[in-house]
C-alpha cells in the first residue's frame, strides 16, 4: 500500500522536471502542461485511493509502514500510514486532484508556466510526504520542502514587488516555524537522539518539558496554519500565488499544519494537562474572531479569502482545544466528538475554500482584477462561475444543508457537552468561546454576502468587469466537482463522519457510534434525545417548499413578468459608481469593531462651501498582529544590523584592538579560573 503511495509521490516529484522542459519539448507548450497536470491528477488519485483504503481498514497493518535507507543515516527514513495521516491524505489529495484539473485550464493563462509547473507537483508530493513521515527528520525535511516549493510558487509572479515581499515574509515565518518544531522534536527525542515517532510516543517527558513542547508546537504548526497572532504572513502569501496554488495553500497546506499539531500534541505527547485545552481554545477563538473581522474589511477578493482561512483554522483549533480539554479529563466520547467536529471541518474547509479560490481565480482570469471595487455584475457574464461561487459562499457561511453547517453544528454540540468539565476556568472560557464562534459565524455570512454581492451582483464597476467572459471547461469542471462535494458532505454527513471513526479511535480511544447505519442517514452524535440533524431531509424539505409554491403561483396566479428601468425609490442613479462598495458595505461593522481591533482611522476631507473640488474619504486599517508582533521584531533586527554594521568600516588598528581585547579577556578568564 505504501509502495503505491511512494510510487505516486515519486511520480509527482519527477513531474517537477516538466517545469524546466516547458516549451522545449517537441510539440506545444500546452502538452507539457497536460503531462504535468495529468500526471499530478494520476498521482493524487492513487494517493487518495490509498488513503481511503487505509482509512476503511481494507489493508493489513504491516503494509502501512516502511523504512528506507535514506534520511538520517543511522535511523533511516520511516514512513507510516495510520488513520490520522490517511484521513489527511484524503483531504490533501482530493484538493490536489481537483487543483490539477483546474490547473489544466488556469495554467494556460500563466505568463511563465515553467515557474508553476516546476514546483507545483513537487509541492503536492511534499504535502503528502509530511503526512507519511514517521520520524522527526523526515517530517521536518518534508515540512520544510513543502514550504520551499510553495515559496517558489508564491514567487511565480515575481515581477510584482508586493509578491516578493509576501514571499519573503512567508519564507522567513515558515523557517521560524520549522525551527520551533525542530526544537520541539529535539526535546522529545532527548539527548540520545530518538528521532523516530515510535520512540517519542514510548518515552515520557517531564511535565515542564511537555509544556514547552506544546508551546513550540503551537508556534511552529500554528504559524503555518495561521493562528493569530502568527498569521500575518498568510494573507500576504496565499493570495500572491496562482489561484490553484492559493487554493492548495489555503485549503490544504493549512490542514497539513493542523495535522502536524494533532500529530505532536494528541499523538506523540501523551495525556494532556487540563489547561492545554484552555490555551488552544483561547487561541482558536481569538483566531476565529480576528480572522473573520479582518476578512470582512478586505477589498481584495483573494486576500479576503485568505483571512477567512485564518477564521476557519480558528474554528478547527476550537475543536481541537475542546478535544484536548475532554481528553485531559478522560472523557473520551466528548473528546471524540470534538475531534471529529474539528477534523470534519478540516475536510469541509478544504472543499469550499478551494472552490472559492478557484472562483476568485476564474474572476482573475476573466477580468484581471482582484479588487472587489472594480468588479460587479459578473453573474450575467460568468453564469456558471457565479452559481458555483455562490455555493461556496453559502457553504462557508454555514448555511444548511451545505457542509459548513454540519461541522459547525458538531462543534456547537461539543461545546454543549462542556458543562461536564470540572475545571472552573474552562467553564467560563468555553461558553465565551462559543459566543465568539457564534459571532464569527454570523460575520462570515456578512463577509461573503459582501464578497459575492460586490463581485458578482450589481452593475459592472469597471471596463474589465464589463468585458468578462466565462472560463474554460477545466476550470468549470473543477469548481463543479467541489460544489457537488460541498453539497454531498452537507447532505450525507454521516458517511464522511464514519470515515473519522478510526482516527478518533486511535487518538482518543473512543469513536462516535457508526452513523451511516441510522435510518434516513441522520446524524446523531451522542443520543437522539440530545441532538440530531438530517441534511438530506432538510434539503428535500427546502426543495419541496421552494418548488411547490413557485409552481402553484405560476399555475394559479400569474407568471407575467415585465422588465423595466431600475426603480430605486423613484430616483434611479444610472452611474454604477453610486452602488455600494466593499468599503461602504463593511462600514457599519467597522464602526462597531473598528477602533478597537483595526486601529481604523477614517479621514473625511470635506470641501468648504464654495469650493469645487470633490470630497474625499479614506479609511486606514491595520493588522494588529503586524504592528504588535512583526514590525517590532523587524525593527529590532534592522536596528541591531545598523549598529553592528559599523564594524565593517573600522580601521585595521581597531580590528587589532578587537583581537587584543579577546586575547586579554581570555587570559583574564584563564587567570581567574586557575
Amino acid at each position: 500500500m505504501l509502495t503505491a503511495a511512494g510510487a505516486a509521490i515519486l511520480l509527482l516529484l519527477l513531474l517537477g522536471l516538466c517545469g524546466p522542459l516547458h516549451g522545449r519539448l517537441p510539440g506545444s507548450a500546452a502538452r507539457t502542461d497536460r503531462i504535468a497536470y495529468g500526471g499530478g491528477m494520476a498521482g493524487c488519485f492513487v494517493l487518495m485511493s490509498v488513503g481511503l483504503a487505509a482509512l476503511s481498514g481494507a489493508v493489513e497493518d504491516d503494509a502501512l509502514s516502511a523504512a528506507l535507507p535514506i534520511g538520517l543515516p543511522w535511523l533511516g527514513a520511516h514512513f507510516r500510514l495510520d488513520p490520522l495521516s490517511a484521513f489527511f491524505m484524503v483531504v490533501v489529495d482530493l484538493g490536489g486532484l481537483i487543483a490539477c484539473i483546474y490547473g489544466l485550464g488556469y495554467g494556460t493563462h500563466e505568463r511563465e508556466p515553467g515557474r508553476v509547473l516546476g514546483f507545483f507537483t513537487p509541492y503536492l508530493a511534499g504535502l503528502n510526504l509530511v503526512l507519511l513521515a514517521d520520524d522527526a527528520f523526515s517530517f521536518l525535511l518534508c515540512w520544510e520542502f513543502m514550504s520551499l516549493s510553495s515559496w517558489l510558487l508564491v514567487l511565480v509572479s515575481h515581477r510584482d514587488p508586493e509578491n516578493r515581499h509576501a514571499a519573503y515574509v512567508y519564507i522567513v515565518m515558515a523557517s521560524i516555524g520549522t525551527f520551533c518544531l525542530l526544537l520541539a522534536f529535539g526535546l522529545m527525542a532527548g539527548p540520545g537522539g530518538g528521532y523516530g515517532f515510535a520512540a517519542m510516543r514510548a518515552s515520557a517527558l517531564d511535565p515542564g518539558l511537555e509544556t514547552v513542547v506544546l508551546l513550540l508546537a503551537i508556534a511552529g504548526a500554528g504559524s503555518k496554519a495561521g493562528l493569530v497572532p502568527l498569521h500575518a504572513w498568510l494573507p500576504l502569501a496565499h493570495p500572491a500565488a496562482p489561484s490553484h496554488v492559493s487554493a492548495l495553500m489555503s485549503g490544504v497546506m493549512t490542514k497539513v499544519a493542523i495535522y502536524g499539531f494533532v500529530r505532536i500534541v494528541l499523538d506523540l505527547l501523551g495525556t494532556p494537562a487540563w489547561w492545554w485545552g484552555l490555551v488552544v481554545l483561547l487561541l482558536g477563538g481569538l483566531t476565529a474572531a480576528m480572522g473573520v473581522l479582518y476578512a470582512l474589511m478586505q477589498q481584495d477578493l483573494k486576500r479576503l479569502l485568505a483571512y477567512s482561512t485564518v477564521e476557519n483554522v480558528g474554528l478547527v483549533f476550537v475543536g481541537l482545544g475542546l478535544a484536548l480539554a475532554f481528553q485531559a479529563q478522560g472523557m473520551v466520547v466528548p473528546a471524540a466528538l470534538a475531534l471529529s467536529a474539528g477534523l470534519l471541518h478540516v475536510l469541509n474547509h478544504s472543499l469550499f475554500k478551494s472552490l472559492l479560490f478557484f472562483g476568485a481565480g476564474a474572476v482573475l482570469v476573466a477580468t484581471g482584477e482582484r479588487q472587489l471595487d472594480r468588479l460587479g455584475g459578473l453573474i450575467h457574464r460568468m453564469p456558471r462561475t457565479a452559481i458555483l461561487f455562490l455555493v461556496g459562499c453559502a457553504a462557508i457561511s454555514a448555511l444548511p444543508p451545505l457542509n459548513g453547517f454540519v461541522s459547525e453544528w458538531l462543534i456547537f454540540q461539543a461545546i454543549l457537552l462542556s458543562p461536564q468539565l470540572p475545571d472552573w476556568a474552562l467553564r467560563f472560557v468555553v461558553p465565551a468561546v462559543g459566543a465568539v464562534l457564534a459571532l464569527s459565524a454570523a460575520l462570515v455570512a456578512t463577509t461573503f454576502v459582501k464578497a459575492y454581492g460586490i463581485a458578482f451582483l450589481g452593475r459592472p464597476r469597471s471596463r474589465e468587469a464589463e468585458a468578462a467572459h466565462e472560463v474554460d471547461r477545466w476550470q468549470g469542471a473543477a469548481m463543479t466537482g467541489l460544489a457537488a462535494l460541498c453539497l454531498a458532505v452537507g447532505v450525507l454527513p454521516a458517511l464522511f463522519l464514519d470515515l473519522l471513526a478510526p482516527v478518533t479511535q486511535a487518538l482518543t480511544g473512543a469513536s462516535l457510534d457508526r452513523q451511516s447505519g441510522l435510518p434516513w442517514l441522520t446524524l446523531i452524535p451522542i443520543a437522539e434525545a440530545r441532538s440530531s440533524y438530517n441534511g438530506l431531509l432538510l434539503l428535500l424539505f427546502i426543495a419541496f417548499s421552494t418548488v411547490v409554491p413557485a409552481l402553484v403561483i405560476h399555475r394559479f396566479a400569474t407568471r407575467a413578468t415585465r422588465r423595466g428601468a431600475i426603480w430605486d425609490c423613484g430616483f434611479p442613479q444610472t452611474d454604477p459608481a453610486t452602488q455600494y462598495t466593499s468599503g461602504s458595505f463593511a462600514q457599519p461593522l467597522r464602526r462597531v469593531f473598528g477602533t478597537l481591533i483595526f486601529h481604523a482611522r477614517e479621514r473625511v476631507d470635506m470641501p468648504l462651501p464654495g469650493e469645487v473640488r470633490a470630497a474625499r474619504f479614506s479609511v486606514e486599517l491595520r493588522d494588529l498582529a503586524w504592528d504588535v508582533f512583526y514590525a517590532p521584531v523587524a525593527r529590532a533586527v534592522e536596528f541591531a544590523a545598523g549598529r553592528l554594521n559599523h564594524l565593517q568600516f573600522l580601521t585595521v588598528r581597531r580590528y587589532l584592538s578587537l583581537v587584543f581585547g579577546a586575547l586579554v579577556l581570555l587570559l583574564l578568564v584563564l587567570a581567574i579560573w586557575q
Binding site: V652, R653, A671
Partner: protein, 221 residues
Amino acid sequence: MARGLAFDISHLLAGGMVLLSFALLYQDRMFSLLRIYALHALVLSLSVAWQAWVQGAPHLYVTATIALAFKAIVIPVALHRIVVRLGIHRTIETVVGVGPTILFGLGLVGLSVAVILPVTAESDALAREDLAFALSVVLLGLLMMITRRNAVSQIVGFMSLENGLVLAATGAKGMPLVVEISVAFSILIAFIVIGIVLFRIRERFDTVDIHALDSFRGERR
C-alpha cells in the same frame, strides 16, 4: 658554569627586553623609537646567543645572527630611510596617553605572570620565567600596535611582538625548527616593510601620515 649564573643572565636579558618594550611604549619620537627597537633586537640576539651556549644548541647561533643583522641593523636603517623619504611626521600620535598606556602595560605584565605562575615547576624554572617575560613582550607589542596611529610605529610594535616569540621559542629547550621560524618571520617583516614602501599604505592602517584620511572603500556607507 654554575646553573645559577646561567639562570641569572638569561633572566637579566629577558627582563631587559620587557623593560625595552616599556621604553618603546613610552617613546613618542620616531627616530628614538627606531633606535630603541634596534636595542630591543640586540638584546634579543644576545639572549638567543646565550641560550645557544647554555643549551649547547649551535643552530641557535644562526637565529642570533639573523636577529642581530636583520632586526637590529637592516630593518631600523630601512625604516629610518622610509621615514625620511616619505616625509612622515617625526612625532607619533598615540590613541591614549602615555601614562595610561604604561599602566595598562604593567597590568599586562601582571597578567602574564599570573597565567604562567601556576605552571608546575618540574618544567625547568628557566623556561618558566622566560615564558612570563616573553608573554609580556608579546602583549606589550600588541598593545603598542593598537595604541599608535602611525603605521611605522605599528610595525615596530609587531616586530617587538615577534621578538617576544623568538625569545619564547629559544627558551623552549630543544625546540626544533626555531631557525626556520625565525627566518619565516623575517620574511614576513620584510613583506610588511616592502608593503609600506610599495603601497604607501594609508587608509585602513590608519595613516602613515597623520593627515591622510580614512577613505572607506569597497562597501561605502
